[in-house]
Assembly symmetry: C2
Homo-oligomer: 443 residues x 2
Amino acid sequence: MGERLVVVGGVAGGASAAAKAKRENPDLEVVVYERSGWVSYGACGLPYVLSGEIPRLEKLVARTPEEFRKQGVEIHAHHEVVDVDPELRTLTVFDHKEGRTFQDRYDHLVLATGARPLIPPIPGTEQRGVYTLRSMEDGEALLRALEGAKRAAILGAGYIGLEVAEAFRKRGLEVTLLELKDRPLPHWDGEVGSLLKEELERHGVEVWTGVRVKALRGQGRVEAVETSEGVVPVDLVLLATGIKPNTLLAQAMGVALGPTGAIATDEGMRTNLEGVYAAGDVAESFHRVLKRPYWLPLGDVANKQGRTAGSVIAGKEARFAGVVGTAIFKAFGLAVATTGLSLEAALEEGFQARKVFIQSRDGAHYYPGSQPLWVELVHEEGTGRLLGGAVVARGHGALRIDALAALLHRGGTVEDLLALDLAYAPPYSPVWDPLLIAAQQAR
Amino acid sequence: MGERLVVVGGVAGGASAAAKAKRENPDLEVVVYERSGWVSYGACGLPYVLSGEIPRLEKLVARTPEEFRKQGVEIHAHHEVVDVDPELRTLTVFDHKEGRTFQDRYDHLVLATGARPLIPPIPGTEQRGVYTLRSMEDGEALLRALEGAKRAAILGAGYIGLEVAEAFRKRGLEVTLLELKDRPLPHWDGEVGSLLKEELERHGVEVWTGVRVKALRGQGRVEAVETSEGVVPVDLVLLATGIKPNTLLAQAMGVALGPTGAIATDEGMRTNLEGVYAAGDVAESFHRVLKRPYWLPLGDVANKQGRTAGSVIAGKEARFAGVVGTAIFKAFGLAVATTGLSLEAALEEGFQARKVFIQSRDGAHYYPGSQPLWVELVHEEGTGRLLGGAVVARGHGALRIDALAALLHRGGTVEDLLALDLAYAPPYSPVWDPLLIAAQQAR
């Protein structure tokens, strides 16, 4: 009997681990158990299916079960791993389709059980017409719900809430976005939030900030959202108030969680248990600015972690170098990119931090059609160490955040940023790159 | 009498030096002598005036003489500095408008005399209808020449040749682009050249590569270009076969040139002569990949050098950290960004270099409207040290070159690139960033 890798969860981290391990070591038996009916898909694309821009959910699939099988990876959808014995290296699997339970064994196990929506503790969330958006199944349900719906409320103005607000508007719905904090994208600083609020309102989204949701009213089907500021009549509600890692199985089998509540791993994605790895939204990352574990449940991180786990299991040298917290998203005509810490987060972490926020453009002042672009830089007083930043663009150019991410990765300073030789031509940048203008002010 | 700064040349480096010095030390007397009729403008915008996208040359002006004067900087256009005595710190100035010569003195002198077109050694370049494109005056002349012109030939397929080819096409001209080497953008590797050639031809530019120009035929006005591959009838010719630094004045006064033939400076833009600085296209930069002086006559570099010189003269701490050779330009629908060394250049420099070249996209595979994007990485075998790279985009995303530039700045490796936490969301990147895909292949 050959060495056997079992992967629990087959969306991003798990699918990457399985594919990479098999590719690097074709002798390995690789089996993936996925609880849902879908494997290997880009959940980040769900809002664009809801908007109608992507015609079918199937488009989000990165690698079909057939492609996996052709590669020699066994894929079992609708299969839930319900128990693992890490001593015997056995597991118990429940086949939801057949309704049967069976045993399997492993030499290497990857936990890639993902995350689940955090349901806010308010009355009425159990009603019909109340949705979350994590999985393809969620997407299917929402697509059905959109038919005939006219008014939607979204609870939470993070990435998902913001992306779905846009999707719902594109479907022609009236949308009210409800956020407890005083701004959209509450984990970032207020200037970016203001730009977002303006953009959302310009596109007809009602943005209620600083509002507490008290209950979802209805008689089994949601009819209205009762808030501290008034009542919003609705046909459907999206709960986008955060997620948490699916650690039940990990905890039950004795896999240690880290300080964030997600699974703790080393750079090779190894957990505390011999032969057991974790990858994807269920696993922590090392944050290179904070210099401690951090939970960053994003698709690209999941893929990197999965690939690392797969390589290590296949006996290759590989390490996941951690994150600095880079993210980007689209909100109507705005591209919003952030990396590292906001000023608020930096101050909370005890840094002596300052920020600058500047407005520039994505092209030379004279270049026709050049658009506004904003840069925020957060840095440590005295040392000038960069702690974070944001680039918001109405046109192109938000990806210059990646240069900042590269600096954060190695503990770079404002002076290091000023020293960079960045790309300049009139269609793409002012002669002083917006990052450099911000760095000059931060100096 | 206060301390006096005289700046020779007022386009980019000179204008920056003057403005910065005055801002940092308002007690300084600051005088700028500019030989031409224009000061402080973005010469990089000239192709977009030729194309008609920018309606008037005046739009390229960054700061008007009135604005300088308001700041307390004296600006003298049409004034040529014809001699400098570095012992006495005096200079001789010729006023082209009044036809008079006078003396001035300085405590600090900035040489920002720029560069001039290199005229190829072929018969017939002295004729009417033959142009170069460096200055606003060149732009004025070409704008006049475009009226009624139907057929143009451009000699040289570097940045200027390529940008003007597009401009001429937008004006409705028939354009033949003639390049001695076997590809457009001859200083970079062939894959990028092939993409460019295809794009140029798709937009109706005749691209003749590997062609030697023998003569410009005509009877005082150019009528045809005689080449090794045949004769091209023309109404006008643009010479875009390179530039060289305007070092006459520097050499005459004993300012040392570097190995590149441009003025040698230290990090504070000081030349070998006490009190004499250089900035802009006449000055060298330190190349951080090659670890030696390099001539990179680009607008953003000129501005940085000028600003550094101005700060140092005003008594502030400042240094110009050098370049890695980052550049970007637009060729019709392609954005072409490069940084560091091409493979060809790296091999010539004696590096044990390799390259990878990959095709990816500027968004997730399922994201509607995502466009092809190509990445080249050049790196050193064994060490994995990054030496250079290119990003070519049909849509957005070419600015991810800046992340590569940030790595090159500090001698980063392929592994360093793989470790970066880059921005991902479906509208902006595949889940594996194209830079990371290239790095995986380079590994």
